[in-house]
């Protein structure tokens, strides 16, 4: 197949698949207004960005309780001006988990317009393993292949040295329905924040259990494990906005 034929095939496929992307008829005017300083061009914050921002906000509160330092620096310039109603932060607890490889501790949960966020601390269930998440900084290179380094704190260190002969377990947490998962490694360990964008409002108001899937792989042996974790949440009230 020639380059021209490839181009035609890909262009047809992508133009058809991405035909829902809409042009902004006012883009020229907004750019001109911005460059002339008449009014700022409004940056659109996507739903995903809002969810991430919410997760970051929640993380400030949650990690403050676990002496996680550096969060202010981490958040610097990213979500400035966002607030959380601290009184609405609920205590989550683990009801059940089926993984044999990892231990989980639920810390807190927060329900806002953008979704429900639950924070879990992740530890290896036994001393012969260390746990990472799939896109941990340094763990994979730009092409998704395993790197030989991982970022711990502010330093890149050799994975071999860091795991010290232990087997490396890489885990991914799946949100319920539409949602996002965000991970953070601090000096205290690995944390995961799972946000469900479309939670069952009626159930949350009464207090409910939520079950997430966890997919883990042992890099040294190639073994895989799919497990679930069920978190119990008290009755909660959805919080409006974040500003």
């Amino acid at each position: 197949m020639t380059l021209h034929e490839e181009q035609k095939k890909v262009q047809k496929a992508m133009e058809s698949t991405l035909s829902g992307l809409q042009e902004d008829p006012w883009l020229t005017q907004r750019i001109l207004a911005n460059t002339k300083g008449e009014e700022p061009v409004k940056k659109k914050l996507s739903v995903s960005a809002l969810v991430i921002a919410l997760m970051l906000i929640v993380s400030v509160v949650a990690f403050a309780a676990t002496n996680w330092t550096g969060i202010t620096e981490f958040l610097g310039g990213i979500v400035g001006g966002w607030n959380v109603n601290e009184e609405a932060i609920a205590a989550a607890t683990i009801k059940e988990k089926t993984s044999k490889w990892i231990n989980l501790t639920a810390t807190e949960a927060y329900w806002a317009e953008d979704g429900l966020s639950v924070i879990l601390k992740v530890d290896s269930a036994d001393d012969s393993h260390v746990v990472c998440y799939q896109f941990e900084e340094g763990l994979t290179n730009e092409e998704g292949e395993m790197s030989d380094q991982i970022k711990i704190g502010e330093e890149m260190v050799s994975i071999e040295k860091w795991r010290a002969g232990k087997e490396l377990i890489i885990c991914e947490f799946a949100p319920v329905g539409e949602g996002w998962t965000w991970y953070k490694r601090s000096d205290e360990g690995l944390f995961v924040i799972i946000t469900s964008g479309d939670p069952d409002a009626e159930a949350l108001q009464k207090g409910t259990d939520l079950t997430f899937e966890v997919h883990c792989s042992n890099i040294q042996t190639g073994e895989k494990e799919t497990s679930t974790v069920t978190v119990t949440l008290p009755a909660m009230t959805m919080q409006e906005g974040h500003k």
Binding site: V10, M14, I31, V41, V47, F135, W182
Partner: protein, 173 residues
């Protein structure tokens, strides 16, 4: 060679560029970033940068190459942000923009396979296949040699073969 210089005022040039390139750049940025709103932000940022530098654009490269280079660099910068790197950016069919008529399954699969290519292969594939760039134009837009473009495109083909057919013994796209 096509350039942005001409009798038009800067505003008219911007308007023409937006009319001509907004949609192709939106597709490029969406395929790069996997998020419609982020892609729109990237396109807007691309045109702002272009407008601010119109007077300095020397026509050495074509207008299309120049805008795509700005767009790719803008997307790259967005990918470097702290929270972006921690997000799971793999795309699934239900995450694609809604369309009036459902695209053919093979078109959807090919689009997703391209969007899921590693970044360095994805940007070459998007420029050469989606935007219709030659190897030389893609090399200029990405600041790499045309040999590197050819090599990355070959690797992209192999990965697509594997993703779409489970082997690398057939034509990809």
């Amino acid at each position: 060679m096509e350039t942005v210089k001409g009798p038009d005022s800067l505003e008219e040039t911007l308007e023409r560029m937006v009319d001509l390139y907004q949609l192709p750049l939106l597709r490029l940025c969406y395929a790069y970033l996997h998020d419609e709103e982020l892609a729109k932000d990237a396109v807007q940022e691309t045109f702002i940068k272009a407008y601010r530098n119109l007077n300095r654009f020397d026509g050495h490269s074509s207008e299309k190459t120049w805008l795509n280079r700005i767009a790719i660099n803008t997307c790259k910068d967005m990918c470097k942000s702290g929270w972006f790197r921690h997000m799971d950016r793999r795309i699934t069919p239900d995450m694609l923009p809604e369309t009036e008529t459902r695209p053919e399954e093979k078109d959807e699969s090919l689009t997703i396979a391209i969007m899921d290519l590693p970044i360095r292969l994805r940007e070459v594939a998007l420029l050469c296949w989606l935007q219709g760039f030659t190897y030389l134009e893609a090399a200029e837009a990405l600041g790499i040699s045309h040999q590197a473009v050819g090599s990355r495109l070959n690797r992209a083909r192999r990965k697509l073969r594997f993703a779409l057919e489970g082997s690398d013994d057939h034509d990809p796209a």
